[in-house]
Amino acid sequence: MAMAMKRSARPSSDSSAEYYESRDFTELYDEYFDRVNRYLRCRVQNPWDADDLTTTVFLKALEKFDQYSRTSPFASWIFRIAHNTYVDFMRKNREFPVDQDNLLGGEPDDTWQPERQALTNEEIRLLRDRLEKLTQDQRDVLTLRYFADLKISQVAEVLGKTESSVKMISYRALHQLQKMYEGGEGE
């Protein structure tokens, strides 16, 4: 795009101190839409709300794109917006009471990935029920780490915590979750 959204193209390296994100907004949108949409569909019960929130996230991101420094990973930046948007949404209690059949099953949608057929809605429901039994921090860490697919350092940046704190929360949350699975809790 023409406006100051395309900057000098330099190689990106996530690991080094010389990290520089050179891609323009539309390229980043193409790459990150799926992850943001999945993250919000995992966190919000009603998939339509999740889609509306995804739209809000990318519209906000576009308006604020000049504030993105490009010397830190775009993933941390976009997921900070996504997470804050989700928190605002929950604070305003805007969720509709949802018919559980609408959650993932309901009407067929040919835009959905074919892999969805491989796992039952029951499994996703179970996971959501079990996540609900964890603390807010544990839920935030696990969903950002395993559903948004962020690195520990990126989760720490999104939530404003230290990496060691995120590791500890993640470790405890996984063990608690694993115990719930072993005990068949929530079934």
Partner: protein, 357 residues
């Protein structure tokens, strides 16, 4: 399938956690992505990027003009303040009719054919069922027509969006009802329109935008039954939320006011809990938890709905010359109120006035 089969027990703890991680990864892949939304949103973003480009170019060209305008605005503000102090009047907060009888409308008995934009500075209305006309309140004589690609049906109602020069318009053609989004043309852009929903055997009415302008709530009448539906203009999905008509979202999107069987109700969107507010119709929000509506006697009532039961009072309007109020609708900034009054002789004539705080 039981979890024991998916995550075998009896292994070492690390092994079990590794199994759990694999399970979570598999679940992540199974969460569906809305690729239709991805394509539609990309178009919207590209359009917005073009607009931002234009705005930037203009702001680079005209900083001096902006400065001059600010100086003039400041001078004007000081003069107005002096006048207010001189007369010992500070009118803010008191609802006063500023522009009486600014529009007279004839035609079907339908007060939803006119609306006020978000800043209370522009009116849009349906003239003869087939033309949508807009004008700035500063220049009532300079009217502009808005065209839609089809001209077969009658436009029955319209609603300004909260954040843009955009209208939701209902077109009725025989048994078919259509919901359009129309971008009102201005100096910078030509107008455009998009069909959001089309359905046979029903009639849509009273569209209203969500606070973020990403959904439209409207009345859908089928076989005499009035239902309230929401259509997302992003994901293009729609769903029913209640039975009733004349829906209006609260400014924070938490509550939905609507009319049912001659009474106004408020529904909490999350829980679906519904509260009776009072007898009347055409609710419109003038605060986060405060709304107004017209009573059967043709007066304006105000209700505080964050207390149970809601507190009601009559809302005074200064310089209101009387007459039966049919509908009163607030602009999105809650500073201006569009008043639709029944004509003296027939219900088919409406007089539109504007009151401001």
């Amino acid at each position: 399938m039981r979890d024991e089969k998916r995550i075998p027990t009896g292994c070492s703890e690390e092994h079990s956690v590794a199994q759990l991680l694999a399970h979570l990864q598999q679940l992540r892949r199974s969460v569906p992505v809305n690729y239709h939304l991805k394509a539609e949103l990309k178009k919207q973003l590209l359009q917005r990027i073009k607009e931002l480009d234009k705005d930037r170019q203009q702001s680079l060209l005209g900083p001096r003009t902006g400065k001059l305008r600010r100086v003039w605005s400041l001078t004007g503000g000081v003069v107005l303040l002096a006048i207010a102090v001189w007369y010992g009047v500070w009118p803010h907060g008191v609802l006063t009719v500023r522009q009486p009888s600014l529009l007279a409308m004839e035609g079907p008995a339908n007060p939803e054919r006119v609306d006020l934009d978000a800043g209370g500075s522009r009116i849009a209305y349906v003239t003869d069922s087939s033309t949508i006309r807009t004008f700035d309140l500063d220049e009532p004589a300079a009217k502009a027509d808005v065209s839609l690609p089809v001209d077969h049906g009658d436009f029955t109602s319209l609603s300004w969006s909260n954040r843009a020069a955009r209208l939701a318009v209902v077109e009725q053609q025989g048994e078919t009802s259509r919901l359009w989004i129309v971008d009102v043309p201005d100096d910078k852009r030509p107008g455009s329109s998009r069909l959001i929903k089309e359905e046979e055997g029903v009639a849509f009415h009273s569209p209203s935008w969500s606070p973020a302008d990403d959904s439209i709530v409207y009345t859908r009448t089928s076989d005499g039954v009035e239902e309230i539906w929401v259509s997302s203009i992003v994901s293009m999905r729609d769903w029913k939320v209640a039975e009733g008509s004349q829906p209006e979202w609260s400014p924070d999107g938490r509550l939905l006011a609507f009319t049912k069987q001659g009474s106004v109700f408020v529904m909490e969107m999350r829980s679906g809990r519904t509260t009776l507010v009072g007898r009347g119709g055409w609710p419109s929000w003038n605060g986060e938890a405060s709304l107004t509506f017209t009573t059967p006697e043709g007066t304006l009532a105000e209700a505080e709905v964050d207390v149970q039961p809601p507190v009601l009072r009559e809302m005074p309007i200064r310089s209101w010359e009387g007459g039966r109020l049919v509908r009163a609708h607030w602009s999105a900034d809650r500073e201006h109120l569009l008043l639709v009054q029944a004509g003296d002789e027939t219900e088919n004539t409406f007089v539109v006035s504007l009151a401001s705080r």
